[in-house]
Amino acid sequence: MNCQHFEDAINDLARDRIIDAETREGALAHTETCARCAARLEDERTLTKGLRAMAQNSEAEQAPAHVEAALVAAFRQRAMKPAAEVSEVAPSGARRFRRMIGVAAAVAAILIIWALVASRLESTPQTHEVKKDDNAPATVPPPEEQTPRQEVRPSKEQLLVQETGQPQHKPRRTSRRPKAKSDSHDQAGKPAEEVIATDYIPLTYGESLNSIEGGQLMRVTLPRSVLVSFGLPMNAERVDEPIVADVLVGYDGVAHAIRFVH
């Protein structure tokens, strides 16, 4: 045996592990002729004895009694729990599966909400952009395509319908151009105020705008956060700025619809 082979066997030899007799005898014979390996074996044996003494010294060490008490209490608590509550200890694979189901349900819920909001916006009437005179509130008809009756239609002096520019919010905007140049100017010949507005949005659940016979249009100022409650996007940077809206108040005094004006 050479020094390299001796080095391979030295740990088992020094630790009194079972090794084959031939290796053992070869290693011991090598120490007769190699002082360095003999000293190395002596060091290793001393180390083994030291480690065994250390192990023996700490043999009595054990966890304090309060650890056992805490564990037994926890065990009892778990044993008393119904199966459904203990299911938190299900295998990690099952936990992952449940988590995936939860995520899928959340995604489905978001899609359903989105679809509902989209359908609600689709069902609202076309946008009317209104130029009204200085004496607000004015009497205003419901959207003309829904309430064609002439008797509730306001006069030109009361309400001018005009559309110009880009809407603030994409969802609803009219596609009509201004009716006539004269309509977009007030009596003094000044350009009329250009208004961009959303469609009328019903305020009463299930109410059709067709059923509104007419009423007054009241311009109000509302917190911008109201947009969110109608499913419309809101610019978070302008959350502190109020938003103008037109509320359609029927002859019965009830607010039937609202539109947001830019």
């Binding site: 740990n11 630790r15 592990r17 060091d43 290793e44 001393t46 180390l47 083994t48 004895k49 030291g50 480690l51 065994r52 003494a53 250390m54 192990a55 010294n57 700490s58 043999e59 060490e61 054990q62 966890a63 304090p64 650890v67 056992e68 805490a70 564990l71 037994v72 926890a74 065990f75 009892r76 778990r78 044993a79 200890v89 295998p91």
Partner: protein, 207 residues
């Protein structure tokens, strides 16, 4: 406690899974000492050893089905959990004391006196030497330390240690070999320092 002492760990674990408190207590008392000592020898910190022991058995209580008898003994499985918790705590707390920072001047060594019979200072020497050895073990890199602790202090064979550390027998052999070599080096260095310290310091009056 009505359970027979001859029940194996696996049998006890099956009873634990059926919410048998006696089985859990028996299993805990059978294995807690080794797990606690392993954590203590790996960390050098009683608090960590306590916490790790508790965590190991809590984990066994929570997820007993994670133990796979085909992959090793329950004991090796518990050591494996303990090892993961110890390493996590050491990385988080860094509370063990490196050998080189604390051994200066205390004169503790492992040498021939450790086993010298009839030496009147045997007990004292032995205690100091064991303390020096304990610090030397703590100063080993983690992967060498765990091999030394399991194979030398816990008398595990290579296969059991490999099962606990989730590595091959060859890896355990080489880590143990290297770990022991490092340990011997550290102790020799400490021995040299202590001899120099003894020669340069004034003699103590023991009267």
């Amino acid at each position: 406690m009505t359970l027979p002492a001859t029940l194996s760990d696996d049998q006890l674990l099956r009873l634990v899974m059926a919410a048998d408190e006696d089985a859990f207590t028996t299993l805990y008392r059978r294995r807690q000492g080794a797990i606690y000592r392993f954590a203590l020898q790996m960390s050098g910190c009683n608090q960590i050893a306590e916490d790790v022991t508790q965590e190991v058995f809590m984990e066994l209580m929570r997820e007993p089905e994670r133990y796979d008898a085909g992959r090793g003994t329950l004991s090796a499985y518990l050591y494996g959990i303990a090892r993961n918790h110890v390493l996590r705590r050491l990385r988080r707390d860094r509370c063990y004391v490196p050998f080189t920072e604390t051994d200066e001047g205390d004169g503790a060594t492992v040498d021939g006196r450790l086993i010298a019979p009839g030496d009147p200072l045997d007990d004292l020497t032995r205690n100091e030497s064991i303390e020096a050895l304990r610090r030397a073990v703590l100063a080993l890199p983690e992967h060498y330390r765990e091999a030394v602790v399991l194979c030398d202090l816990h008398e595990m064979n290579y296969a059991e240690a490999a099962g606990a550390l989730a590595c091959s027998v060859g890896t355990i052999r080489s880590r143990l070999h290297r770990g022991r070599a490092l340990l011997a080096e550290k102790l020799r260095a400490a021995d040299r320092e202590s001899r120099v310290s003894t020669l340069t310091s004034p003699a103590r009056c023991l009267a």
